[in-house]
């Protein structure tokens, strides 16, 4: 593995960190509970 290939591999490795951050955000969204205020706000906007 020489210059350009090494750089390309480094870049490919650098994709992993944001990738796992995306997974964490996804898990965070799935773990979220609904804030009842969100629905109240929706109802208030549409059904005053």
């Amino acid at each position: 593995m020489t210059g350009w290939t090494a750089q390309a591999h480094l870049l490919a490795d650098d994709l992993r960190e944001p990738g796992f951050a995306c997974a964490e955000l996804n898990a965070s969204a799935w773990c979220a509970r609904t804030d009842p205020a969100a629905t109240r706000g929706l109802a208030a906007r549409r059904w005053p």
């Binding site: 350009w4 290939t5 990738g19 965070s28 969204a29 979220a32 629905t39």
Partner: protein
Amino acid sequence: MVRAYRPGRDQGPGGAALALTDGDAGGSLWGSAPPCPDDKTLVEGAAELEGWAAELLKRSSQIARECRADLAAAGAALGEALAAQRAASAQAAVGRNAGQAAAAEAALTEAREAESAARAAIADCEAALEILDECGTRLAHAANCLAKVPGDLAAVYEQPSEHLADGGTLPHSGDFLGGAVTIEAA
């Protein structure tokens, strides 16, 4: 309404995660994590990650551009090395004395070394471009998945909004939105 946001494996942050880790993040897409407190946090988080992906895509494109320039230079160097070999061989064939023969042999050796270096550079560039191309594809897909998060999230609001517009009512608690009970049943 984050709780009602349920993107599939090929969309949203999950789709981006799988693209960027080549599938390795699959096990942690639905792992335990601090619950996302609100829509704003989700949208801002997705925007930040989209920016990260865009930066990497920019870097990938820059490396690929420089690599292609080196590939072109190596291709030209290979052509010159092969021409030099032909010239050296011709010189060796017409050499009239030992000195000329030795000079031709030295030129041939040098040209062969140049050919070898050019071929190695070409192989390096081609291997790198293959990796960079794949990285670019994965990054573009990830950025696209993340860019759609605000729209996907807005779509979550559409069904209850339509339900209200049709004269339906919503409970104050929004829990039903993320549960098994459908809006119609609620």
